[in-house]
């Protein structure tokens, strides 16, 4: 019991540190996506520091778990996790989005160790993850494939093609987090182009759906630990707040794709102490 509590506290602390990394790298870059990175970082912390069976020194290890950030604009969250995990030196975070540097504005498979799929064009990562899951079944390997999909991203039809295929091919080795922060660029998701009800849609497509508070580490890891139903892919509907952790960013569409300035960064870091 005490062990569990300590484990959860450690993950919460880790997520807080990674939030600082995200904000610092964005301020240095002068552009990028804080809102969606901060809404996804708790689930990604749980993945990278609790769940994923990966070897930073061997990014191509054939039996590794795969993680695909289908909402690729949350790249800062991914880079913070990969750097902390040891896939590349932390100083790379200082030249995010700069010319001739490793860390691209959206994840690049060719350039960055630990990145499984080049994403950024919404709706495509899930299909690639489905392919990885199919390959896993084909090769009779035990690895899991994990994905973070955005709520606005579900407006892309390709997401539903991939969801259909995952259920059809009985991919019980794939787990999708839906980062449901109800905001996109032009405003609330339900006002721009409603994707609700989310849970029922994924269930109708043949997925098992678990709904959680996407910022509660215990709920996240409990959901990850629920075994798949045989032959059924799993979706974790994570209700989140865009910009979570920084009071002036929380729930604001305008913090989707604007980097904090130095003073804003200092205020944010102060809140994260």
């Amino acid at each position: 019991m005490a062990d569990d509590k300590a484990k959860i506290q450690a993950l919460e602390n880790k997520a807080k540190e990674l939030r600082k990394d995200i904000l610092r790298m964005l301020e240095k870059a002068g552009s990028g996506h804080p809102g969606g990175s901060l809404s996804a970082i708790d689930m990604m912390t749980a993945l990278y520091f609790y769940k994923l069976n990966i070897k930073p020194e061997k990014p191509d290890w054939p039996d590794r778990d795969r993680f695909v950030l289908s909402k690729g604009h949350a790249a800062p969250a991914l880079y913070a996790c990969l750097a902390e995990k040891g896939f590349f030196p932390k100083k790379e975070l200082d030249c995010l989005r700069k010319i001739n540097c490793m860390l691209q504005g959206h994840p690049s498979k060719k350039l960055i160790p630990g990145v499984e799929a080049s994403t950024g064009s919404l709706g495509q990562g899930l299909s690639m993850a489905v392919g990885m899951a199919i390959a896993g079944k084909l090769d009779k390997k035990a690895y899991g494939v994990y994905v973070v999909v955005g709520d606005g991203e579900m407006q892309e039809g390709q997401i539903w093609e991939a969801a259909m295929a995952a259920a059809h091919y009985k991919l019980d080795n794939i787990t999708v987090f839906i980062d449901n922060n109800n905001l996109q660029i032009d405003g609330n998701v339900d006002e721009v182009m409603s994707v609700y009800p989310i849970k029922e849609k994924w269930q109708a497509f043949g997925w098992k759906v678990i709904e959680i508070d996407g910022h509660d580490i215990k709920q996240i890891i409990d959901a990850l630990d629920v075994p798949h139903e045989k032959g059924k892919p799993k979706a974790i509907l994570a209700n989140t707040t865009k910009g979570k952790g920084v009071s002036f960013m929380e729930n604001k569409a305008e913090w989707h794709g604007v980097a904090p300035k130095k003073e804003e960064l200092d205020n944010a870091l102060g809140e994260l102490e």
């Binding site: 054939p62 690049s108 498979k109 060719k110 499984e116 799929a117 080049s118 950024g120 064009s121 709706g123 495509q124 990562g125 899930l126 299909s127 690639m128 993850a129 489905v130 392919g131 990885m132 899951a133 199919i134 390959a135 896993g136 084909l138 090769d139 039809g157 390709q158 093609e161 991939a162 259909m164 295929a165 059809h168 091919y169």
Partner: protein, 311 residues
């Protein structure tokens, strides 16, 4: 009577052979009987995945499977495989340099009766401008079979363009197919016909017509449109002085444009492009369509005669 077979049949034969390669996986979008990917499915059903009528997902899935070390052949009609899923090819496959072969069957006006919605005449042009893409357009079923086999050992993203109808067999079993190398099929000194795919046999027929009129036409088969064999093109410009290109594709963007680029930058020579003149096709038999849209050996020969006067 020359033996005839469709390039898609050559693909089917190769897929049957490739079924025994444990690294090869085939995907299709509900057209496996038409594209002939079904021949791998028949031999090795566990390495064939029908993705249904979801081409964009099919390309993404292909990328994901390729990222796990497989060689993936993903087929559908060219309009759907290459055009509907164009951005997926660009962002999921080409940008990461993955070993996905996008196989576009039923390309060009050769598709015939299904009509304009199904006649891909712009996809070579579109894919030429995607970095990291190799583009192969075989001239007959033998070349198609050899190309498909060669692609099992080739690194990087590829677009393979195939046709619906039977066309004359031009090569024999010991033809050595080499990706990236143009093939001179006939020597000539007055002008050169540079052709690809379904128009290569028509280029040879055109050369026969020209011979009866004492015109010596060189004929070159460009099966690899990207990366294109610049040397053979420049050599023909230097030695014959005039070029006619021939393709079942819009004259904008495809082989004709690629050849014109090489000539303009290296050895300008007068060129005329035979192909679809920037118009959509329509329903009709392939022969009727070729006649109406100017893709027959007669049209190639007439262009050759015109071009010689402009040397």
């Amino acid at each position: 009577m020359t033996e005839q077979a469709a390039t898609r049949d050559g693909y089917g034969k190769a897929m049957c052979k490739l079924a025994s390669n444990p690294n090869v996986v085939a995907l299709d979008a509900d057209l496996s009987c038409s594209t002939k990917s079904a021949s791998l499915a028949k031999e090795c059903p566990e390495r064939f995945f029908n993705m249904g009528i979801s081409e964009q997902n099919m390309i993404g899935v292909a990328a994901g499977i390729a990222s796990c070390g497989k060689i993936v052949y993903a087929s559908s009609f060219a309009v759907f495989a290459a055009e509907r899923a164009f951005e997926q090819i660009r962002n999921s496959v080409a940008y990461s340099g993955l070993n996905v072969r996008i196989v576009g069957s039923h390309a060009g006006l050769l598709t015939g009766e299904d009509g304009a919605s199904h006649q891909a005449i712009e996809e070579v042009g579109a894919l030429r401008s995607v970095p990291n893409m190799t583009i192969i357009s075989p001239a007959d079923a033998i070349e198609a079979e050899k190309a498909t086999m060669a692609l099992a050992d080739y690194e990087g993203p590829v677009y393979l363009r195939l046709g619906r109808m039977k066309t004359p067999i031009l090569f024999d079993e010991d033809y050595k197919f080499e990706i990236g190398k143009g093939v001179q099929l006939k020597e000539g000194k007055d002008m050169t016909i540079i052709a690809t795919g379904a128009l290569v046999h028509r280029a040879l027929e055109a050369a026969k017509i020209l011979e009866t009129e004492n015109i010596s036409a060189r004929v070159i088969n460009i099966h690899t449109i990207k990366p294109i064999d610049k040397e053979i093109i420049i050599k023909s410009a230097k030695e014959t002085g005039a070029i006619v290109t021939a393709e079942d594709h819009n004259i904008i963007g495809g082989l004709g444009s690629a050849v014109a680029e090489v000539l303009a930058e290296n050895h300008p020579a007068i060129i005329e492009r035979i192909g679809v003149k920037d118009t959509f096709g329509e329903s009709g038999s392939p022969d009727d369509l070729y006649e109406k849209y100017g893709l027959t050996e007669k049209h190639i020969a007439e262009a050759a005669k015109r071009i010689i006067k402009r040397k």
